[in-house]
Amino acid sequence: MNDPKKRILVVDDQADITRMLKLNLEQTNDYEVRMENNSRLALAAAEEFHPDLILLDVVMPGIDGGDLASRLEASPALKGVPIVFLTAAATKAEVSARGGRIGGLPFLAKPVNTAEVVKCLKKYLG
């Protein structure tokens, strides 16, 4: 791939999940992944990291995924950065029934394998 690596911010309160995403996505050599396990620090991390896409858990202590998404969208520094939810709070059936969106945003239902995540990333990264 000639393009520079796409930068992905993964926000999830569970470190094992962010770590596995980082390992698998970076193994493809297409992505550079930054992990954030504290939702309160996620906005700052995003503004600093300038990701091309944000993967966002929904149910998190502190600020939940929904609130955080609003704040991220509201940030001028992050304008136009796609947000994809990654959540254990929805089923695959719901994903298809809702056209793959929560609150207008696309989402992936856990558990999801690397190939599905990559497919999704490619879709929203254009």
């Binding site: 094992d16 995403l21 029934a97 856990k110 558990p111 394998n113």
Partner: protein
């Protein structure tokens, strides 16, 4: 005349006398009458002379009567003497009274009835000088008369005692005798009913006429030995009385009926009692029917209650499973996420030679998929409240569900027989959830069949009539006559053991081998169908295999 001759003669004479005696005695025994004469002077009897027949009648000889001038009076039976005395006085006064019948005591002590007829004889001045009498023994006639009178009295008593009316019809003249009671039974006095057969005919109830005349004819022709008829006769007050008529016919030597007689019994009260009894019986029967129906209704209500209770238990079970699932799912999915991605990572970094390790990783990935499937189905139970109901075409929805399973259908070489009804009314359903229902039913069918099986999918529009294959739950959802859409999914596998059928919708109840099913598929299906206000039933099809029936209320085309 010599003595021998004399004796011979004497003997002959004796013989002749004996023969004459014998003849006389025989004659005497046959005599029942004798005459007597009484000479009268100055109104008093002077002498009596009795004819020879007197011995036969009274036992006394004419000589004995001559010897005792009072013998004729002394032989009169004591109780009859006043009448005899009175009559003798009448005669002596010159009157000519009629014959007198009275009793005498014969010489041998037996009592006889006689009839004494007297003819007075007078001189030129009209004075009674003599009277002649004829005494006839009338004992046999008297006895016959007495017997007849007793017989008549007995009959009268019986008739009176039985309170029956008597009729006697002369067929030659059509005259009829109707007893006072016969007439009185119908409110009439003696002269008010003509003694003629037609009187009875006139009183007949028109509806009974044909039957009554038929019975009469049957008896007269000898077809029936007796005449018996329950019929109505018009009472003087205009009402009709039920009368039981019984009788017999008498025929002449030529076999022609000449007379018919019998009785009438007023059976109005009995008939009324019978009617009341039969009415009471009918009422009782009705009450019994009502009771039976009430009992049936009670039983049905009890069954419904039981079913409702079962459903509540079922719902409570599902609710708790759902609540639990919702709580657990999130916590389980995250570790599954880590394991899945961990497996991805390990797989990507495995040397090609490590076949066993690859196999282990593949098994682990399979285990994650299975665990995830269970979580997903559990979540179905907890996530059913937020429905998006829209009018959908069930035929289209079924086609989409089949399309989603095309890989599985091909792999199992299953052919699909479609019998989709045309022009189905739309149904208001959540498309995604209802697809889940049919996908689950199709998957069950596929798993129940050997490769090469036939999956039959049928739809039709119908009126709910209670005998659809959803009896248990449907009565709560539908009323008879409701417009419904029926979907039937049938496989040609080996069916479900009957003992399993009652538990088939229980969560985690499965008949499939371990690892093939989660045991939640049908729980989810039923839960979704119930929440749509529909009904589902599963049974073994008569021709083999399992028949699943889903009944949904038909929506109207106008609603969104």
């Amino acid at each position: 005349m010599n003595t021998t001759l004399f004796f011979e003669r004497s003997n002959q004479a004796d013989q002749a006398v004996k023969e004459s005696e014998g003849r006389y005695q025989r004659l005497l025994a046959s005599v029942t009458d004798y005459v007597f004469s009484v000479t009268v002077d100055q109104g008093k009897p002077l002498a009596t002379s009795h004819g020879p027949g007197c011995e036969a009648v009274t036992g006394f000889t004419p000589g004995e009567f001559e010897a005792d001038p009072f013998l004729w009076f002394l032989m009169v039976y004591e109780a009859d003497r006043p009448a005899v005395t009175a009559r003798a006085e009448q005669i002596l006064r010159g009157e000519a009274p009629p014959a007198l019948e009275h009793r005498i005591v014969r010489k041998d002590g037996s009592i006889r009835w006689i009839r004494n007829t007297v003819v007075p004889r007078k001189d030129e001045q009209g004075r009674l000088v003599m009277y002649d009498g004829l005494v006839s023994d009338i004992t046999e006639r008297k006895q016959a008369e007495l017997a007849l009178r007793q017989s008549q009295e007995r009959l009268a008593l019986v008739i009176q005692g039985s309170n029956d009316g008597i009729w006697d019809w002369n067929l030659t003249t059509d005259e009829a005798y109707f007893s006072p009671r016969w007439k009185n039974m119908l409110g009439y006095e003696e002269p008010e009913v003509q003694n003629h057969f037609s009187a009875w005919e006139r009183l007949l109830h028109p509806d009974d006429r044909q039957r009554a005349l038929g019975r009469l004819q049957a008896c007269l022709s000898g077809e029936t030995p007796n005449f018996e008829l329950e019929h109505r006769l018009r009472h003087k007050d205009g009402t009709f009385r039920w009368i039981l008529a019984r009788g017999v016919a008498l025929h002449d030597a030529g076999g022609k009926p000449v007379r018919m007689a019998g009785s009438h019994v007023d059976m109005t009260d009995r008939k009324r009692a019978e009617e009341q009894l039969s009415q009471a019986y009918a009422e009782l029967t009705q009450q019994q029917e009502d009771l039976k129906r009430t009992l049936q209704e009670l039983r049905a209500a009890h069954e419904k209650l039981k079913a409702a209770q079962l459903q509540l238990i079922q719902a409570a079970k599902l609710e708790s499973v759902g609540t639990l699932a919702a709580g657990v799912a999130h916590e389980v999915k995250n570790p599954l996420q880590t394991i899945l991605m961990g497996l991805d990572f390990l797989s990507g970094n495995l040397p090609a030679s490590k076949e066993n390790t690859k196999l282990v990783l593949s098994d682990m990935r399979e285990a994650v998929t299975r665990a995830h499937a269970i979580i997903q189905e559990l979540l179905q139970l907890s996530a059913q409240r937020d429905f998006e109901l829209k009018n959908e075409d069930l035929n289209l929805l079924l086609e989409r569900s089949l399309l989603l399973l095309r890989n599985e259908l091909v792999a199992s070489q299953t052919s699909v027989a479609r019998r989709l009804g045309a022009g189905l009314p739309p149904v208001r359903i959540d498309r995604g959830k209802m697809e889940q229902v049919f996908i689950n039913l199709f998957l069950n069918a596929l798993q129940a069949m050997s490769p090469g099986g036939v999956l039959t999918v049928a739809t039709r529009s119908d009126r709910f009539n209670g005998d659809l294959n959803v009896a248990e739950s449907a009565h709560r959802q539908f009323r008879r006559g409701d417009r419904v859409v029926v979907v039937e999914v049938q496989d040609n596998g080996s069916g479900i053991p009957e003992a399993h059928l009652p538990r088939i919708f229980d969560p985690f109840f499965t008949t499939k081998p371990v690892g093939v099913g989660t045991g939640l598929g049908l729980s989810v299906v039923k839960s979704i169908v119930d929440l749509h206000g529909g009904a589902i039933g599963i049974k073994n099809a008569p021709g083999g295999g399992v028949l699943a029936t889903v009944v949904l209320k038909a929506g109207s085309k106008d609603s969104p």
